[in-house]
Symmetry: C2
Subunit: 298 residues, 2 copies
Amino acid sequence: MPNLTSEFIANSFRELQVYITDKLEKNDGLAKFSSDEWEREEGGGGRTMIIGEGAKIIKGGVAFSKVEGEITALMREQMGMKGDAFLATGVSIVIHSRHPLHPTMHMNVRYFETNLGEHWFGGGIDLTPIYVDPLLAKSFHQSLKTTCDQFRVETYEAYKTWADEYFYLPHRKETRGVGGIFFDHLKPTNGEDKQSIFEFCLDLGRLFPVLYAAQTASAFPEPSEVQLSWQALRWSRYVEYNLLFDRGTRFGIISNGRTESILLSMPPMAHWKYNYLPEEGSLELQTLQSLKKGIDWV
Amino acid sequence: MPNLTSEFIANSFRELQVYITDKLEKNDGLAKFSSDEWEREEGGGGRTMIIGEGAKIIKGGVAFSKVEGEITALMREQMGMKGDAFLATGVSIVIHSRHPLHPTMHMNVRYFETNLGEHWFGGGIDLTPIYVDPLLAKSFHQSLKTTCDQFRVETYEAYKTWADEYFYLPHRKETRGVGGIFFDHLKPTNGEDKQSIFEFCLDLGRLFPVLYAAQTASAFPEPSEVQLSWQALRWSRYVEYNLLFDRGTRFGIISNGRTESILLSMPPMAHWKYNYLPEEGSLELQTLQSLKKGIDWV
Protein backbone atom coordinates (compact mmCIF):
# COMPACT_ATOMS: atom_id res chain seq x y z
CA MET A 1 0.00 0.00 0.00
CA PRO A 2 1.62 3.26 -1.09
CA ASN A 3 1.85 6.15 1.32
CA LEU A 4 -0.87 8.61 0.26
CA THR A 5 1.12 11.82 0.31
CA SER A 6 -0.08 14.77 -1.75
CA GLU A 7 2.90 14.13 -4.01
CA PHE A 8 1.82 10.55 -4.62
CA ILE A 9 -1.77 11.64 -5.31
CA ALA A 10 -0.63 14.37 -7.72
CA ASN A 11 1.65 11.94 -9.56
CA SER A 12 -1.20 9.45 -9.87
CA PHE A 13 -3.47 12.18 -11.25
CA ARG A 14 -0.76 13.10 -13.73
CA GLU A 15 -0.58 9.46 -14.84
CA LEU A 16 -4.37 9.35 -14.99
CA GLN A 17 -4.27 12.23 -17.47
CA VAL A 18 -2.01 10.22 -19.79
CA TYR A 19 -4.18 7.12 -19.39
CA ILE A 20 -7.32 9.06 -20.32
CA THR A 21 -5.86 11.01 -23.24
CA ASP A 22 -4.41 7.80 -24.68
CA LYS A 23 -7.81 6.06 -24.61
CA LEU A 24 -9.62 9.12 -26.01
CA GLU A 25 -7.15 9.32 -28.90
CA LYS A 26 -7.68 5.64 -29.72
CA ASN A 27 -11.44 6.10 -29.63
CA ASP A 28 -11.25 9.14 -31.87
CA GLY A 29 -8.92 7.50 -34.37
CA LEU A 30 -7.92 10.78 -36.01
CA ALA A 31 -7.03 13.64 -33.66
CA LYS A 32 -4.05 13.71 -31.28
CA PHE A 33 -3.62 15.64 -28.05
CA SER A 34 -1.11 18.44 -27.84
CA SER A 35 0.41 19.28 -24.50
CA ASP A 36 1.19 22.54 -22.66
CA GLU A 37 3.24 22.49 -19.45
CA TRP A 38 2.78 25.63 -17.38
CA GLU A 39 3.94 27.02 -14.08
CA ARG A 40 2.12 29.22 -11.63
CA GLU A 41 3.94 32.20 -10.20
CA GLU A 42 2.52 31.67 -6.73
CA GLY A 43 3.56 27.99 -6.70
CA GLY A 44 2.87 24.79 -8.62
CA GLY A 45 1.73 24.34 -12.20
CA GLY A 46 0.17 21.86 -14.51
CA ARG A 47 -0.14 20.22 -17.88
CA THR A 48 -3.03 21.07 -20.19
CA MET A 49 -3.71 18.62 -23.02
CA ILE A 50 -5.88 19.81 -25.88
CA ILE A 51 -7.57 17.98 -28.75
CA GLY A 52 -9.73 19.16 -31.61
CA GLU A 53 -10.93 18.65 -35.18
CA GLY A 54 -11.09 14.90 -34.65
CA ALA A 55 -13.37 12.25 -36.13
CA LYS A 56 -15.56 12.30 -33.01
CA ILE A 57 -14.15 15.12 -30.86
CA ILE A 58 -14.56 18.66 -32.21
CA LYS A 59 -12.93 20.40 -29.21
CA GLY A 60 -11.82 19.20 -25.83
CA GLY A 61 -9.18 19.16 -23.19
CA VAL A 62 -7.83 17.14 -20.27
CA ALA A 63 -6.15 19.33 -17.66
CA PHE A 64 -3.90 18.26 -14.81
CA SER A 65 -2.75 20.72 -12.16
CA LYS A 66 -1.06 20.77 -8.78
CA VAL A 67 -1.02 24.18 -7.17
CA GLU A 68 0.03 25.39 -3.75
CA GLY A 69 -0.45 28.73 -2.10
CA GLU A 70 -1.89 30.96 0.51
CA ILE A 71 -5.53 30.64 1.54
CA THR A 72 -6.90 34.07 0.66
CA ALA A 73 -9.92 35.85 2.11
CA LEU A 74 -11.76 35.04 -1.13
CA MET A 75 -11.08 31.29 -0.72
CA ARG A 76 -12.29 31.39 2.88
CA GLU A 77 -15.44 33.14 1.78
CA GLN A 78 -16.18 31.18 -1.42
CA MET A 79 -14.94 27.72 -0.43
CA GLY A 80 -15.21 27.79 3.36
CA MET A 81 -11.51 26.90 3.64
CA LYS A 82 -9.65 27.23 6.93
CA GLY A 83 -5.96 27.67 7.64
CA ASP A 84 -3.21 29.65 5.92
CA ALA A 85 -1.92 27.44 3.11
CA PHE A 86 -3.45 24.93 0.70
CA LEU A 87 -2.48 22.37 -1.87
CA ALA A 88 -4.88 21.38 -4.64
CA THR A 89 -4.40 18.79 -7.36
CA GLY A 90 -6.80 17.33 -9.87
CA VAL A 91 -7.78 16.32 -13.37
CA SER A 92 -10.56 18.08 -15.32
CA ILE A 93 -12.02 17.08 -18.66
CA VAL A 94 -14.53 18.56 -21.05
CA ILE A 95 -15.05 16.96 -24.47
CA HIS A 96 -17.38 18.46 -27.10
CA SER A 97 -18.36 16.11 -29.93
CA ARG A 98 -18.51 16.92 -33.63
CA HIS A 99 -21.84 15.27 -34.37
CA PRO A 100 -25.03 16.67 -32.75
CA LEU A 101 -26.04 13.09 -31.93
CA HIS A 102 -22.85 12.73 -29.85
CA PRO A 103 -22.71 14.51 -26.49
CA THR A 104 -20.59 16.88 -24.46
CA MET A 105 -19.04 15.06 -21.46
CA HIS A 106 -17.32 16.33 -18.33
CA MET A 107 -15.26 14.75 -15.54
CA ASN A 108 -13.36 16.17 -12.62
CA VAL A 109 -11.51 14.62 -9.68
CA ARG A 110 -9.64 16.76 -7.18
CA TYR A 111 -7.83 16.61 -3.86
CA PHE A 112 -7.40 19.46 -1.35
CA GLU A 113 -5.14 19.70 1.66
CA THR A 114 -4.57 22.55 4.12
CA ASN A 115 -1.75 23.28 6.58
CA LEU A 116 -4.20 22.42 9.41
CA GLY A 117 -4.02 18.77 8.32
CA GLU A 118 -7.48 18.72 6.74
CA HIS A 119 -7.82 16.96 3.42
CA TRP A 120 -10.69 15.95 1.18
CA PHE A 121 -11.64 14.77 -2.30
CA GLY A 122 -14.26 16.04 -4.72
CA GLY A 123 -15.35 15.20 -8.21
CA GLY A 124 -18.02 14.15 -10.64
CA ILE A 125 -18.97 13.08 -14.12
CA ASP A 126 -21.91 14.39 -16.08
CA LEU A 127 -23.37 13.94 -19.55
CA THR A 128 -24.78 16.74 -21.73
CA PRO A 129 -26.41 15.29 -24.85
CA ILE A 130 -27.52 17.66 -27.61
CA TYR A 131 -30.40 15.24 -28.16
CA VAL A 132 -31.35 13.14 -25.12
CA ASP A 133 -31.50 9.41 -25.86
CA PRO A 134 -33.03 7.67 -22.82
CA LEU A 135 -31.17 4.40 -23.55
CA LEU A 136 -27.79 6.14 -23.67
CA ALA A 137 -28.66 8.11 -20.53
CA LYS A 138 -29.60 4.85 -18.83
CA SER A 139 -26.36 3.08 -19.73
CA PHE A 140 -24.37 6.14 -18.59
CA HIS A 141 -26.06 6.22 -15.20
CA GLN A 142 -25.91 2.42 -14.87
CA SER A 143 -22.11 2.50 -15.29
CA LEU A 144 -21.80 5.26 -12.68
CA LYS A 145 -24.01 3.28 -10.32
CA THR A 146 -21.88 0.17 -10.77
CA THR A 147 -18.69 2.13 -10.01
CA CYS A 148 -20.30 3.78 -6.98
CA ASP A 149 -21.68 0.47 -5.72
CA GLN A 150 -18.20 -1.03 -5.69
CA PHE A 151 -17.17 1.84 -3.45
CA ARG A 152 -20.06 1.88 -1.02
CA VAL A 153 -23.70 1.07 -1.34
CA GLU A 154 -25.59 4.36 -0.93
CA THR A 155 -23.36 6.76 -2.84
CA TYR A 156 -24.92 6.63 -6.31
CA GLU A 157 -28.35 7.91 -5.23
CA ALA A 158 -26.82 10.65 -3.06
CA TYR A 159 -24.29 11.75 -5.67
CA LYS A 160 -26.82 11.55 -8.50
CA THR A 161 -29.14 13.88 -6.58
CA TRP A 162 -26.20 16.19 -5.85
CA ALA A 163 -25.39 16.32 -9.59
CA ASP A 164 -29.03 17.19 -10.41
CA GLU A 165 -28.80 20.12 -7.98
CA TYR A 166 -25.31 21.21 -9.02
CA PHE A 167 -25.47 21.00 -12.83
CA TYR A 168 -28.56 23.20 -13.00
CA LEU A 169 -29.31 26.50 -14.79
CA PRO A 170 -31.85 28.25 -12.52
CA HIS A 171 -32.43 31.08 -15.02
CA ARG A 172 -33.43 28.54 -17.67
CA LYS A 173 -35.08 26.08 -15.27
CA GLU A 174 -33.04 23.41 -17.07
CA THR A 175 -30.50 20.85 -15.95
CA ARG A 176 -27.24 21.08 -17.92
CA GLY A 177 -27.89 17.62 -19.38
CA VAL A 178 -28.98 14.26 -18.01
CA GLY A 179 -26.72 14.66 -14.97
CA GLY A 180 -24.44 12.04 -13.53
CA ILE A 181 -22.74 12.15 -10.13
CA PHE A 182 -21.17 14.97 -8.11
CA PHE A 183 -19.52 14.99 -4.68
CA ASP A 184 -17.38 17.34 -2.61
CA HIS A 185 -15.59 17.50 0.76
CA LEU A 186 -15.38 13.71 0.84
CA LYS A 187 -13.18 13.02 3.87
CA PRO A 188 -11.75 9.87 5.37
CA THR A 189 -13.90 10.42 8.44
CA ASN A 190 -17.24 9.16 7.18
CA GLY A 191 -16.43 5.48 7.39
CA GLU A 192 -14.14 5.54 4.34
CA ASP A 193 -10.37 5.41 4.48
CA LYS A 194 -8.33 7.82 2.38
CA GLN A 195 -7.08 4.99 0.18
CA SER A 196 -10.52 3.85 -0.91
CA ILE A 197 -11.74 7.41 -1.63
CA PHE A 198 -8.63 7.97 -3.71
CA GLU A 199 -9.20 4.74 -5.65
CA PHE A 200 -12.82 5.76 -6.24
CA CYS A 201 -11.54 8.99 -7.85
CA LEU A 202 -9.08 7.08 -10.01
CA ASP A 203 -11.83 4.64 -11.02
CA LEU A 204 -14.04 7.54 -12.09
CA GLY A 205 -11.21 8.98 -14.14
CA ARG A 206 -10.55 5.65 -15.87
CA LEU A 207 -14.26 5.25 -16.48
CA PHE A 208 -14.46 8.51 -18.46
CA PRO A 209 -13.02 7.22 -21.79
CA VAL A 210 -15.15 4.07 -21.49
CA LEU A 211 -18.28 6.16 -21.06
CA TYR A 212 -17.31 8.51 -23.88
CA ALA A 213 -16.68 5.56 -26.21
CA ALA A 214 -20.10 4.14 -25.33
CA GLN A 215 -21.82 7.48 -26.01
CA THR A 216 -20.10 7.85 -29.38
CA ALA A 217 -20.23 4.22 -30.57
CA SER A 218 -22.93 4.82 -33.19
CA ALA A 219 -22.04 6.41 -36.51
CA PHE A 220 -24.59 8.78 -38.03
CA PRO A 221 -25.10 10.35 -41.46
CA GLU A 222 -24.07 13.98 -41.98
CA PRO A 223 -26.04 16.18 -39.58
CA SER A 224 -28.91 18.35 -40.84
CA GLU A 225 -29.02 22.14 -40.60
CA VAL A 226 -31.65 21.81 -37.85
CA GLN A 227 -29.38 19.49 -35.84
CA LEU A 228 -26.36 21.78 -36.20
CA SER A 229 -28.34 24.84 -35.24
CA TRP A 230 -29.72 23.06 -32.15
CA GLN A 231 -26.18 21.96 -31.21
CA ALA A 232 -24.93 25.59 -31.35
CA LEU A 233 -27.84 26.67 -29.18
CA ARG A 234 -27.26 23.91 -26.61
CA TRP A 235 -23.57 24.85 -26.54
CA SER A 236 -24.60 28.40 -25.57
CA ARG A 237 -26.33 26.92 -22.51
CA TYR A 238 -23.07 25.16 -21.64
CA VAL A 239 -21.29 28.52 -21.83
CA GLU A 240 -23.93 30.14 -19.62
CA TYR A 241 -23.64 27.40 -17.01
CA ASN A 242 -19.86 27.45 -16.85
CA LEU A 243 -19.40 31.22 -16.78
CA LEU A 244 -22.34 32.03 -14.52
CA PHE A 245 -22.37 29.11 -12.08
CA ASP A 246 -19.58 26.52 -12.30
CA ARG A 247 -17.61 26.84 -9.05
CA GLY A 248 -14.33 25.62 -10.50
CA THR A 249 -14.53 28.08 -13.40
CA ARG A 250 -15.48 31.06 -11.25
CA PHE A 251 -12.92 30.19 -8.59
CA GLY A 252 -10.20 29.74 -11.18
CA ILE A 253 -10.97 33.07 -12.86
CA ILE A 254 -11.27 35.03 -9.62
CA SER A 255 -8.12 33.48 -8.08
CA ASN A 256 -5.96 34.36 -11.07
CA GLY A 257 -5.70 30.82 -12.45
CA ARG A 258 -4.47 29.96 -15.95
CA THR A 259 -7.30 31.31 -18.11
CA GLU A 260 -6.78 29.07 -21.14
CA SER A 261 -6.76 25.93 -18.95
CA ILE A 262 -9.88 27.01 -17.08
CA LEU A 263 -11.76 27.94 -20.26
CA LEU A 264 -10.85 24.78 -22.19
CA SER A 265 -14.42 23.85 -21.21
CA MET A 266 -15.80 26.34 -23.74
CA PRO A 267 -17.40 24.80 -26.84
CA PRO A 268 -15.94 25.63 -30.27
CA MET A 269 -18.86 27.97 -30.80
CA ALA A 270 -22.22 28.98 -29.43
CA HIS A 271 -25.32 30.67 -30.84
CA TRP A 272 -27.86 32.82 -29.06
CA LYS A 273 -31.38 33.44 -30.39
CA TYR A 274 -33.84 35.67 -28.55
CA ASN A 275 -36.66 33.76 -26.87
CA TYR A 276 -36.17 30.61 -28.95
CA LEU A 277 -38.50 27.70 -28.26
CA PRO A 278 -38.45 24.50 -30.35
CA GLU A 279 -41.57 23.56 -32.27
CA GLU A 280 -44.36 21.51 -30.74
CA GLY A 281 -43.71 17.80 -31.30
CA SER A 282 -40.05 18.28 -32.33
CA LEU A 283 -37.11 16.18 -31.11
CA GLU A 284 -35.59 19.41 -29.81
CA LEU A 285 -38.61 20.08 -27.58
CA GLN A 286 -38.48 16.46 -26.39
CA THR A 287 -34.88 17.00 -25.27
CA LEU A 288 -35.78 20.25 -23.53
CA GLN A 289 -38.51 18.45 -21.62
CA SER A 290 -35.96 15.82 -20.46
CA LEU A 291 -33.69 18.44 -18.86
CA LYS A 292 -35.33 18.13 -15.45
CA LYS A 293 -34.11 17.26 -11.99
CA GLY A 294 -35.04 13.96 -10.36
CA ILE A 295 -35.43 11.73 -13.43
CA ASP A 296 -34.50 8.13 -12.56
CA TRP A 297 -32.49 7.25 -15.67
CA VAL A 298 -31.45 3.81 -14.42
CA MET B 1 -40.47 71.93 -14.44
CA PRO B 2 -42.13 68.54 -14.06
CA ASN B 3 -42.24 66.84 -10.70
CA LEU B 4 -39.55 64.14 -10.82
CA THR B 5 -41.49 61.23 -9.39
CA SER B 6 -40.35 57.69 -10.13
CA GLU B 7 -43.42 57.37 -12.32
CA PHE B 8 -42.40 60.40 -14.38
CA ILE B 9 -38.83 59.09 -14.70
CA ALA B 10 -40.03 55.63 -15.74
CA ASN B 11 -42.39 57.11 -18.32
CA SER B 12 -39.59 59.23 -19.73
CA PHE B 13 -37.34 56.16 -19.97
CA ARG B 14 -40.14 54.34 -21.75
CA GLU B 15 -40.39 57.20 -24.24
CA LEU B 16 -36.62 57.23 -24.58
CA GLN B 17 -36.78 53.57 -25.66
CA VAL B 18 -39.15 54.48 -28.50
CA TYR B 19 -36.99 57.46 -29.49
CA ILE B 20 -33.85 55.27 -29.66
CA THR B 21 -35.42 52.31 -31.48
CA ASP B 22 -36.94 54.66 -34.04
CA LYS B 23 -33.54 56.24 -34.80
CA LEU B 24 -31.78 52.88 -34.90
CA GLU B 25 -34.35 51.55 -37.37
CA LYS B 26 -33.89 54.55 -39.63
CA ASN B 27 -30.12 54.14 -39.52
CA ASP B 28 -30.37 50.46 -40.30
CA GLY B 29 -32.81 50.95 -43.16
CA LEU B 30 -33.83 47.29 -43.28
CA ALA B 31 -34.61 45.66 -39.94
CA LYS B 32 -37.51 46.57 -37.64
CA PHE B 33 -37.79 46.15 -33.89
CA SER B 34 -40.27 43.69 -32.45
CA SER B 35 -41.68 44.31 -29.01
CA ASP B 36 -42.35 42.08 -25.97
CA GLU B 37 -44.28 43.45 -23.01
CA TRP B 38 -43.73 41.42 -19.85
CA GLU B 39 -44.77 41.51 -16.21
CA ARG B 40 -42.82 40.50 -13.16
CA GLU B 41 -44.60 38.38 -10.57
CA GLU B 42 -43.03 40.28 -7.67
CA GLY B 43 -44.08 43.68 -9.12
CA GLY B 44 -43.50 45.78 -12.20
CA GLY B 45 -42.49 44.72 -15.68
CA GLY B 46 -41.04 46.03 -18.86
CA ARG B 47 -40.87 46.14 -22.62
CA THR B 48 -38.06 44.40 -24.49
CA MET B 49 -37.49 45.48 -28.08
CA ILE B 50 -35.44 43.21 -30.29
CA ILE B 51 -33.86 43.70 -33.71
CA GLY B 52 -31.79 41.43 -35.92
CA GLU B 53 -30.74 40.44 -39.42
CA GLY B 54 -30.59 44.07 -40.49
CA ALA B 55 -28.38 45.88 -42.98
CA LYS B 56 -26.08 47.07 -40.19
CA ILE B 57 -27.39 45.39 -37.04
CA ILE B 58 -27.00 41.61 -36.85
CA LYS B 59 -28.51 41.24 -33.35
CA GLY B 60 -29.48 43.73 -30.72
CA GLY B 61 -32.04 44.87 -28.20
CA VAL B 62 -33.29 47.89 -26.33
CA ALA B 63 -34.87 46.99 -23.00
CA PHE B 64 -37.00 49.15 -20.74
CA SER B 65 -38.04 47.99 -17.29
CA LYS B 66 -39.60 49.33 -14.12
CA VAL B 67 -39.57 46.89 -11.25
CA GLU B 68 -40.47 47.21 -7.60
CA GLY B 69 -39.94 44.83 -4.75
CA GLU B 70 -38.37 43.84 -1.50
CA ILE B 71 -34.70 44.53 -0.84
CA THR B 72 -33.35 41.02 -0.28
CA ALA B 73 -30.25 39.96 1.66
CA LEU B 74 -28.54 39.36 -1.71
CA MET B 75 -29.24 42.94 -2.83
CA ARG B 76 -27.89 44.32 0.45
CA GLU B 77 -24.76 42.23 0.03
CA GLN B 78 -24.16 42.70 -3.70
CA MET B 79 -25.39 46.28 -4.16
CA GLY B 80 -24.97 47.77 -0.71
CA MET B 81 -28.65 48.73 -0.69
CA LYS B 82 -30.39 49.79 2.53
CA GLY B 83 -34.04 49.71 3.49
CA ASP B 84 -36.85 47.23 2.82
CA ALA B 85 -38.26 48.13 -0.59
CA PHE B 86 -36.84 49.42 -3.86
CA LEU B 87 -37.93 50.72 -7.22
CA ALA B 88 -35.62 50.46 -10.24
CA THR B 89 -36.21 51.70 -13.75
CA GLY B 90 -33.93 52.01 -16.73
CA VAL B 91 -33.09 51.48 -20.37
CA SER B 92 -30.38 49.04 -21.53
CA ILE B 93 -29.06 48.60 -25.04
CA VAL B 94 -26.63 46.23 -26.70
CA ILE B 95 -26.24 46.31 -30.50
CA HIS B 96 -24.01 43.85 -32.37
CA SER B 97 -23.15 44.82 -35.95
CA ARG B 98 -23.13 42.58 -38.99
CA HIS B 99 -19.84 43.76 -40.47
CA PRO B 100 -16.59 43.12 -38.54
CA LEU B 101 -15.58 46.72 -39.29
CA HIS B 102 -18.67 47.91 -37.43
CA PRO B 103 -18.69 47.65 -33.62
CA THR B 104 -20.72 46.34 -30.72
CA MET B 105 -22.15 49.22 -28.67
CA HIS B 106 -23.76 49.36 -25.24
CA MET B 107 -25.71 51.96 -23.27
CA ASN B 108 -27.49 51.88 -19.94
CA VAL B 109 -29.24 54.50 -17.83
CA ARG B 110 -30.99 53.58 -14.62
CA TYR B 111 -32.68 55.08 -11.58
CA PHE B 112 -33.01 53.53 -8.12
CA GLU B 113 -35.14 54.54 -5.18
CA THR B 114 -35.60 52.97 -1.76
CA ASN B 115 -38.32 53.34 0.88
CA LEU B 116 -35.78 55.25 3.03
CA GLY B 117 -36.01 58.14 0.55
CA GLU B 118 -32.61 57.50 -1.05
CA HIS B 119 -32.41 57.75 -4.81
CA TRP B 120 -29.63 57.74 -7.35
CA PHE B 121 -28.82 57.38 -11.05
CA GLY B 122 -26.30 55.20 -12.84
CA GLY B 123 -25.33 54.54 -16.40
CA GLY B 124 -22.77 54.49 -19.12
CA ILE B 125 -21.97 54.05 -22.79
CA ASP B 126 -19.10 52.00 -24.14
CA LEU B 127 -17.77 51.00 -27.54
CA THR B 128 -16.42 47.55 -28.44
CA PRO B 129 -14.93 47.59 -31.94
CA ILE B 130 -13.91 44.29 -33.53
CA TYR B 131 -11.06 46.24 -35.12
CA VAL B 132 -10.01 49.38 -33.24
CA ASP B 133 -9.91 52.49 -35.44
CA PRO B 134 -8.29 55.34 -33.45
CA LEU B 135 -10.19 58.01 -35.37
CA LEU B 136 -13.55 56.40 -34.65
CA ALA B 137 -12.54 55.87 -31.01
CA LYS B 138 -11.57 59.54 -30.81
CA SER B 139 -14.85 60.82 -32.26
CA PHE B 140 -16.78 58.50 -29.89
CA HIS B 141 -14.96 59.81 -26.83
CA GLN B 142 -15.14 63.40 -28.08
CA SER B 143 -18.95 63.19 -28.28
CA LEU B 144 -19.12 61.74 -24.78
CA LYS B 145 -16.84 64.48 -23.50
CA THR B 146 -19.02 67.16 -25.10
CA THR B 147 -22.15 65.70 -23.50
CA CYS B 148 -20.42 65.43 -20.12
CA ASP B 149 -19.02 68.96 -20.36
CA GLN B 150 -22.52 70.37 -20.82
CA PHE B 151 -23.44 68.67 -17.55
CA ARG B 152 -20.44 69.60 -15.42
CA VAL B 153 -16.80 70.15 -16.17
CA GLU B 154 -14.92 67.31 -14.49
CA THR B 155 -17.17 64.36 -15.22
CA TYR B 156 -15.75 63.06 -18.50
CA GLU B 157 -12.28 62.29 -17.12
CA ALA B 158 -13.70 60.69 -13.98
CA TYR B 159 -16.33 58.66 -15.81
CA LYS B 160 -13.91 57.67 -18.56
CA THR B 161 -11.50 56.27 -15.94
CA TRP B 162 -14.40 54.52 -14.23
CA ALA B 163 -15.35 52.87 -17.56
CA ASP B 164 -11.75 51.69 -18.09
CA GLU B 165 -11.86 50.01 -14.67
CA TYR B 166 -15.37 48.64 -15.03
CA PHE B 167 -15.37 47.28 -18.61
CA TYR B 168 -12.28 45.16 -17.97
CA LEU B 169 -11.57 41.42 -18.29
CA PRO B 170 -8.93 40.73 -15.60
CA HIS B 171 -8.43 37.11 -16.74
CA ARG B 172 -7.55 38.36 -20.24
CA LYS B 173 -5.83 41.55 -19.11
CA GLU B 174 -7.96 43.27 -21.77
CA THR B 175 -10.48 46.09 -21.69
CA ARG B 176 -13.80 45.12 -23.30
CA GLY B 177 -13.22 47.66 -26.04
CA VAL B 178 -12.10 51.28 -26.20
CA GLY B 179 -14.24 52.18 -23.19
CA GLY B 180 -16.48 55.18 -22.85
CA ILE B 181 -18.05 56.48 -19.66
CA PHE B 182 -19.52 54.74 -16.60
CA PHE B 183 -21.03 56.13 -13.40
CA ASP B 184 -23.07 54.83 -10.49
CA HIS B 185 -24.73 56.09 -7.30
CA LEU B 186 -24.96 59.59 -8.76
CA LYS B 187 -27.06 61.45 -6.19
CA PRO B 188 -28.46 64.97 -6.04
CA THR B 189 -26.19 65.73 -3.08
CA ASN B 190 -22.92 66.35 -4.89
CA GLY B 191 -23.76 69.79 -6.20
CA GLU B 192 -26.17 68.50 -8.85
CA ASP B 193 -29.91 68.68 -8.64
CA LYS B 194 -32.01 65.65 -9.50
CA GLN B 195 -33.35 67.33 -12.60
CA SER B 196 -29.95 67.90 -14.19
CA ILE B 197 -28.74 64.35 -13.44
CA PHE B 198 -31.92 63.03 -15.00
CA GLU B 199 -31.45 65.19 -18.09
CA PHE B 200 -27.86 63.98 -18.37
CA CYS B 201 -29.16 60.39 -18.46
CA LEU B 202 -31.73 61.27 -21.13
CA ASP B 203 -29.03 63.06 -23.16
CA LEU B 204 -26.84 59.96 -23.02
CA GLY B 205 -29.73 57.83 -24.18
CA ARG B 206 -30.49 60.17 -27.09
CA LEU B 207 -26.80 60.26 -27.97
CA PHE B 208 -26.66 56.48 -28.45
CA PRO B 209 -28.23 56.30 -31.95
CA VAL B 210 -26.12 59.29 -33.05
CA LEU B 211 -22.95 57.53 -31.93
CA TYR B 212 -24.01 54.24 -33.49
CA ALA B 213 -24.74 55.99 -36.79
CA ALA B 214 -21.30 57.62 -36.70
CA GLN B 215 -19.59 54.28 -36.03
CA THR B 216 -21.44 52.60 -38.89
CA ALA B 217 -21.36 55.41 -41.45
CA SER B 218 -18.77 53.78 -43.69
CA ALA B 219 -19.77 50.97 -46.03
CA PHE B 220 -17.27 48.16 -46.57
CA PRO B 221 -16.91 45.33 -49.07
CA GLU B 222 -17.91 41.80 -48.02
CA PRO B 223 -15.83 40.77 -45.00
CA SER B 224 -13.01 38.26 -45.38
CA GLU B 225 -12.85 34.90 -43.60
CA VAL B 226 -10.14 36.30 -41.33
CA GLN B 227 -12.33 39.25 -40.36
CA LEU B 228 -15.35 37.05 -39.67
CA SER B 229 -13.31 34.62 -37.61
CA TRP B 230 -11.84 37.49 -35.55
CA GLN B 231 -15.35 38.89 -35.03
CA ALA B 232 -16.57 35.54 -33.65
CA LEU B 233 -13.58 35.43 -31.31
CA ARG B 234 -14.08 38.99 -30.06
CA TRP B 235 -17.75 38.19 -29.49
CA SER B 236 -16.67 35.34 -27.19
CA ARG B 237 -14.84 37.92 -25.06
CA TYR B 238 -18.07 39.92 -24.87
CA VAL B 239 -19.83 36.78 -23.61
CA GLU B 240 -17.10 36.19 -21.03
CA TYR B 241 -17.33 39.75 -19.74
CA ASN B 242 -21.09 39.81 -19.44
CA LEU B 243 -21.52 36.39 -17.84
CA LEU B 244 -18.49 36.55 -15.55
CA PHE B 245 -18.39 40.21 -14.51
CA ASP B 246 -21.19 42.50 -15.66
CA ARG B 247 -23.05 43.55 -12.49
CA GLY B 248 -26.39 44.09 -14.21
CA THR B 249 -26.28 40.66 -15.85
CA ARG B 250 -25.23 38.81 -12.71
CA PHE B 251 -27.69 40.71 -10.56
CA GLY B 252 -30.51 40.07 -13.02
CA ILE B 253 -29.78 36.35 -13.22
CA ILE B 254 -29.34 35.87 -9.48
CA SER B 255 -32.41 37.95 -8.59
CA ASN B 256 -34.70 35.95 -10.86
CA GLY B 257 -35.02 38.61 -13.55
CA ARG B 258 -36.41 38.00 -17.04
CA THR B 259 -33.66 35.85 -18.58
CA GLU B 260 -34.30 36.68 -22.24
CA SER B 261 -34.25 40.43 -21.53
CA ILE B 262 -31.05 40.18 -19.48
CA LEU B 263 -29.30 38.03 -22.08
CA LEU B 264 -30.30 40.13 -25.08
CA SER B 265 -26.70 41.34 -24.72
CA MET B 266 -25.38 38.03 -26.04
CA PRO B 267 -23.92 38.17 -29.57
CA PRO B 268 -25.51 36.02 -32.29
CA MET B 269 -22.60 33.64 -31.93
CA ALA B 270 -19.17 33.25 -30.40
CA HIS B 271 -16.12 31.11 -31.11
CA TRP B 272 -13.49 29.85 -28.70
CA LYS B 273 -10.02 28.71 -29.78
CA TYR B 274 -7.48 27.41 -27.28
CA ASN B 275 -4.62 29.83 -26.62
CA TYR B 276 -5.21 31.86 -29.78
CA LEU B 277 -2.87 34.78 -30.43
CA PRO B 278 -3.02 36.84 -33.65
CA GLU B 279 0.01 36.90 -35.90
CA GLU B 280 2.83 39.38 -35.44
CA GLY B 281 2.12 42.54 -37.42
CA SER B 282 -1.55 41.72 -38.06
CA LEU B 283 -4.46 44.15 -37.68
CA GLU B 284 -5.91 41.73 -35.13
CA LEU B 285 -2.81 42.00 -32.92
CA GLN B 286 -2.92 45.79 -33.30
CA THR B 287 -6.47 45.78 -31.94
CA LEU B 288 -5.49 43.52 -29.05
CA GLN B 289 -2.70 45.93 -28.14
CA SER B 290 -5.22 48.80 -28.05
CA LEU B 291 -7.40 47.09 -25.46
CA LYS B 292 -5.65 48.74 -22.53
CA LYS B 293 -6.73 50.96 -19.68
CA GLY B 294 -5.75 54.62 -19.58
CA ILE B 295 -5.51 55.42 -23.29
CA ASP B 296 -6.43 59.05 -23.94
CA TRP B 297 -8.56 58.60 -27.07
CA VAL B 298 -9.55 62.27 -27.30
